[in-house]
Symmetry: C2
Subunit: 506 residues, 2 copies
């Protein structure tokens, strides 16, 4: 059962329609006037002729208003670049030739996967050449016995999932954006999602990858070995580096066996203490079959039910938890989940609860969690924060923020991946409002920093959070990140203006 | 149930008795005459006075024959350094002060954890100062709800396991050496072991760490967040770098819930094709509760039963598989395992099989697998190879090697972590024999390289495998590893002579 079709479709629609709205989106260079273009070469006819000499015509897009608009704008229409060229390589070698030339010619590059990011990392800030991986979309091999799939970076996650299912395997990650996002982009941004609780993060699941460095050199780390301790694990550098250290072109992913039974429970809870107790007992009772533990607060539920006319299966409560199990024996899993439900009701940890009787019901329960983002967007402008906080402080931030903002916003709500300590704090207002924004930031970052949380749990840094990286990372860490960047990309041609505050060219 | 007590005790005994045999062990500088000491400072009284000024007397060991001998020799008595000084810091800050001074004074350092490695990585080659983490052995905190344990690097794995069990958690890794090995050393060498199949590798399980760089700078990456996407994941660099990029002093580890039921099955199998089919059906039927799938070949079984007087629970077969499940419901797990056994017997995939009725029987079954190394050692000299190979070629290497060696060795056998594609190829002879060695190497590395396997799956490179790293890693990768090393440790004071072939000082 795949529970995310609805959101996936939604994001796909939003994404494909982004082009239409492009003209109304403010240029990033205008919205962020303090950003200064680096001293890169301006694209010339000579450059263009070179790219046309090594690529086929359909791999070189230059029509600013038709071809390029969808690539210059993110799917939320929140950032807009002014690139005049999209290159669409089909092989690692073509990526190598492109980067070698750009490095020699001092041309800045913005690598782009499915362009589903939330932090402005995948679109150009100025006129960077866009390197789209979309034509590199082959599933190269899938081996059921070892669980290893080798796939080109541009393969859309949902397509890979379909192929894996045919081989009795499943993806170790699942995202709302899976209908559009690409595995290479997932790896480059260390995407999290709703299965991390069960299968861990991509640093553990990626067995190998190929990356092209800024100078065009091909770094072949495409190991399919589950164990390999020969020297430094260089592939790890590229996981989560957001295209600033190299361009990921191929990935070897370890994929778990496909569960034959997926079951969902939905609980209403009257206090956050009981939310934590529900998590504790769920981990204890469900053990190895627990695959998701998601929190929805009352305000998020109110939004998703009123805006999208969805129906909650339980009465009104301050909190709701969605529990998903994935296992290999439906009877065993049902017994475990039923027993958990009974215990929770009997000892008063939850006030109400229901289990999905079939996959339709399960999909409907998931929709209550997965369509919150869509519901919030329909209220106006959304200030979105994706943070990690210690589990006991998980909901404090929402309370504190509400007290701070008073009646300024329409709504201040929290939901997210409780089991991973990953809160999505969302605040809505009629329209983009700097008074409200200045009340939220840097307040939210300061608060998270004091708890030693992360100001970006799973969405990355990109452009939008680059000024806040030191709220999570120590100055020593950021100093060494800069040295790594300088080592791998001395001319700073790969995804400039992203991750690091200030200018790397200073 | 902990299945490894016996081996653990054995290794502990071997380790603590290493000192006694020290005088008979050939110096590494003699056995490997082509190694040349780097142009480091020789330890002077002035240096010693500095270390004595910042550390207590029991933290500075200088008695060559009593104190130092156990630190200068590995537990297999296969390598021997001639260090004259062991420093035993108690805090990260003390490690920082030591490294800052050594870097300024050009003093080479050999970081040492439990000294249980197999590749000569944790003892000095010449007179490097030994930095022992053994006094930094505190479990700082354990949180059952989030599963995060924060622990000092020198904590022995078994001690950490005991504390975790009290908190209903378990370790994501388990090693035969757990009675001696330290978590910092496990992280620094990216230790694998028998639970990797279930819980994945340390790149996924380590949430954060503190490392001290060669210049004494403290890199605080001690995040306890399960998700954190703020910039490059620098901690990954130190996982598996064998103490050459920095010294790990603290670790935040994600620990899974402690399984309440651990069950073991043992099968006799008549062909390698059926070995693979057993693996496939085990993954399918046991799904999420499968925690180990270990192979033992006939020759390994013969050795462990004859040398150690252990008894096999099944008749003689070319192959044996040990299956372990770990789960949260004993009845469910037993039903799954019984059903698997029935299927395998019925369709002829296995010829014989038994399930452990209690934890004593389970321990006895595990002993057949875990005590092979000990049994082999009692035959004389053991040539040990720890390689990763594609699962379908898993056993070919043993066959090919046997054909190549003919009657030269006493025994050529294979066993290991089938589920992870990790073979332990072992060859025994009466004593160390260069004719035999030259028949084995580089033959074994060439063969593994042709399969795109790894010449070191879980044991690292250290000193012994440094000349073979390029059999697994591309020249581009090794080039960039060298650049990383140069960036983080420009004077090459951290664990010199390890990992890289040739001299880094050239």
């Amino acid at each position: 059962m795949s529970s995310l079709y609805k959101l996936s479709t939604t994001i796909r629609k939003l994404h494909s329609s982004a082009a239409r709205f492009t003209k109304n989106v403010e240029f990033t260079a205008v919205r962020y006037p303090y950003l200064k273009r680096g001293s890169y070469s301006f694209l010339s006819d000579r450059h263009l002729r070179f790219f046309q000499s090594i690529l086929s015509p359909h791999q070189v897009l230059t029509d600013e208003f038709n071809d390029l608009s969808g690539y210059n704008v993110d799917w939320m229409c929140s950032v807009r670049g002014s690139s005049r060229l999209v290159l669409r390589p089909k092989t690692t070698e073509e990526v190598g030739a492109i980067l070698q030339y750009c490095n020699a010619q001092n041309i800045a590059i913005c690598p782009q996967g499915g362009n589903t990011g939330l932090v402005g990392g995948s679109v150009p800030v100025f006129d960077e050449v866009i390197l789209s991986l979309g034509l590199m979309d082959a599933v190269i091999s899938v081996d059921e016995l070892s669980g290893i799939a080798i796939v080109q970076a541009g393969c859309v996650l949902e397509k890979l999932e379909t192929v894996l299912h045919l081989n009795n395997l499943t993806l170790p990650l699942d995202l709302g954006a899976k209908g559009s996002c690409q595995i290479g982009g997932n790896v480059a941004t260390n995407a999290g999602g709703i299965r991390l609780l069960r299968y861990g993060n991509l640093h553990g699941s990626v067995m190998g990858l190929t990356a092209v460095l800024a100078n065009g050199q091909i770094m072949d780390c495409l190991s399919t070995n589950k164990k390999d301790n020969t020297g430094y694990d260089l592939k790890q550098l590229f996981i989560g580096s957001e295209g600033t250290l190299g361009v990921v072109t191929q990935v070897a992913l370890h994929c778990p066996s496909k569960p034959t039974s997926v079951q969902v429970g939905f609980f209403g809870i009257n206090s956050f203490d009981n939310v934590l107790e529900t998590l504790r007992l769920s981990k204890q009772s469900l053990g190895e079959i627990l695959s998701s533990c998601e929190l929805i607060d009352q305000s998020s539920m109110e939004c998703v039910t009123s805006q999208l006319k969805l129906k909650s299966p339980v009465n009104d409560f301050p909190f709701y938890i969605l529990i998903e199990t994935s296992g290999s024996n439906a009877d065993h899993d049902a017994e475990k989940l039923n027993s958990l439900l009974e215990t929770l009701l009997k000892n008063g940890t939850i006030m109400d609860g229901t289990l999905a009787a079939d996959s339709t019901q399960a999909t409907n329960l998931w929709a209550l969690r997965e369509r919150i983002a869509e519901a919030l967007a329909s209220e106006g402008y959304v200030y979105k924060y994706d943070v990690s906080v210690p589990i006991r402080q998980f909901y404090q931030l929402v309370d504190v923020m509400r007290a701070e903002l008073g009646s300024l916003p329409i709504r201040c709500c929290g939901y997210g991946h409780l089991g991973d300590g990953n809160l999505h704090l969302n605040i809505t207002s009629q329209e983009y409002n700097t008074v409200l924004l200045n009340k939220i930031e840097p307040f939210v970052y300061n608060w998270v920093s004091r708890q030693r949380g992360s100001v970006s749990a799973e969405h990355g840094v990109g452009l939008k959070k680059r000024d806040y990286i030191e709220y999570t990372k120590s100055p020593t860490s950021v100093y060494w990140m800069r040295r790594m960047k300088k080592l791998f990309d001395p001319n700073n041609i790969l995804n400039p203006y992203k991750i690091f505050p200030g200018s790397l060219n200073d």
